[in-house]
Amino acid sequence: MPLTAFLGIQYDFQWSVLWTGGHGEWLIQGILTTLRLSALSWLFASFLGILAGALRTVPFRPLRALAVLYVEFFRNVPLLVWLFFWYFGAPQMLPRVAQDWLNVHGPEFWSAVVGLSVYHGARMSEVIRAGIQSIPRTLLEACVATGLSVGQAYRLIIIPVALRLIIPPATNESLNLLKNSSLALTIGVAELTFMSRQIETYTAKAFEALTAGTLIYLVLCLGISATMAQVERHFRIPGLIARVGRAEH
């Protein structure tokens, strides 16, 4: 291309490496693995997050302590270290029979799921705790006054309200989870970043291969943000400062 030659760039662009030679299938495999890994981890992380976030606000000391222990222990260590721990460290504690079973059922993928879920669960719990703590205490008192137990009040009223309040930071954490799934390549999971690098090592066309990975992540994340913006619009609680879309009057 004359423009690149003019700018002194001595690189031979070959965008066709992205779909020839089976590389297109690799990228699609990578995308599917990333989505599977992220979706499963997100489900477990949300569950753990809601549980731990709620437990940190209940008026019962031992449960609060348990939740604090979980959150501080798991979020203060880098995710990469956790992935190595769950893949290389934790299975050593299991009995030999369990380890043998695990070794033939995709240990790389499941170690990554566990690592991501537990780490992001700890981070999500803080977000959910912030949402719960922004609800006035009067709501909880009203629930208890109508005859609900504390557990029922949390399950039926408090948590659903909190979830509607924390959609922006929760979206942020979810996008972080999707992007952090790329770290799984260090324990042998063949996800999208791995596949981009695979194309790069087979063809030496680093720019094209890594641009493909970049653009795909960008599209996935923008898609999620756009969806969550719609969800936020739909579930906003009237009367709060939140202004999404046009003014009502």
């Binding site: 003019f6 700018l7 002194g8 760039i9 001595q10 893949y87 290389f88 299975p91 050593q92 380890q99 043998d100 070794n103 033939v104 240990p107 790389e108 390549l185 260090t186 324990i187 042998g188 063949a190 791995f194 690098r197 695979q198 790069e200 090592t201 087979y202 030496a204 680093a206």
Partner: protein, 285 residues
């Protein structure tokens, strides 16, 4: 608006000229200008490039790179700093293309597809791919790995060879040798594949060498060469001359004895055919 556009146009031209000027520099010019010769090598591939017990970065390839360094100093007639940088199979070609290193001296196999992206020096070592297994494993070679879990490194010729042969094994690909070997130690995979000599290095450096064995006939031919940027004949001549001189005056064989001799940690005798091949590469002065 027009003024902004014209300022941007001038800036683009100036930048383009600056970039063009930089991009055309040869490796020897770059080494002369910066005063540093950077070599990319391995950190966990004994005995080619690794960190030893005294926390020093040593190896057979490192010693050969030092010979090249001496030759560069002779050619440029000044003292040049020698620096090592870590490279893995997946990162070595990008490191070269970006200019972060000037030479890759580790465990890189000279292959025809790779010659499209980089230039290679003379072959300085010959080996082939094999398998590393725990003592007592039923795997004897490439014929036994169907359905088994095989660890390898991303970007290596071994991983590519197994894929191209359509072997029905489950390939687990790790970013580097350390992760792959740990997976084998823990039984996460049934075998680890890499070039035979590197597997011997791992075996001898393991806490209990008798636990491991290297099995299988060579299923690939792996001639190791040093890699450098393309279209840089002057630098390539310097590298090749250094290797040829070392082969001629016996320095190469002294270094080989040090790393692969009977008293070393990884004894690997030089066969007659390989020795002849290496000597035939030395063209007359």
């Amino acid at each position: 608006m027009r003024r902004v556009l014209s300022v941007m146009a001038v800036a683009a031209i100036v930048l383009g000229l600056a970039v063009a000027g930089w991009a055309a520099e040869s490796t020897l010019e770059k080494i002369n200008r910066t005063g540093v010769f950077t070599v990319g090598t391995r950190t966990a591939s004994p005995p080619f490039g690794y960190i030893n017990k005294q926390n020093e970065w040593v190896g057979f390839s490192v010693d050969l790179a030092k010979l090249v360094h001496k030759n560069i100093e002779k050619k440029l007639n000044k003292s040049i700093k020698f620096e090592l940088k870590e490279s893995t199979p997946a990162t070595r070609i990008p490191l070269l293309s970006s200019g972060a290193v000037d030479l890759i001296a580790g465990t890189m196999t000279d292959t025809r597809p790779r010659r499209d992206s980089v230039d290679f020096s003379l072959t300085f070592f010959v080996t082939g791919a094999q398998f590393l297994v725990k003592e007592g494993s039923p795997i004897r070679g490439i014929q036994d790995i169907t359905g088994k879990r095989v660890a390898s490194q991303q970007g290596s010729t071994n991983e590519r060879a197994l894929r191209e042969r359509g072997v029905q094994a489950q390939l687990v690909v790790f970013p580097d040798q350390a992760a792959g070997f740990t997976a084998l130690v823990q039984g996460r995979v049934d075998t680890y594949t890499n070039d035979g000599i590197q597997l011997w290095g791992l075996k001898y450096k393991a806490p209990n060498p008798n636990e491991w064995k290297v099995v299988g006939d060579f299923y690939t031919y792996e001639p190791y060469g040093m890699a450098m940027r393309k279209n840089d004949s002057d630098f390539r001549a310097v590298v090749n001359n250094a290797l040829m001189e070392a082969l001629e005056d016996g320095e190469y064989f002294k270094i080989y004895e040090n790393w692969f001799g009977p008293k070393s940690d990884t004894p690997y005798p030089l066969s007659d055919s390989v020795k002849s091949f290496l000597m035939y590469q030395v063209v007359p002065k």
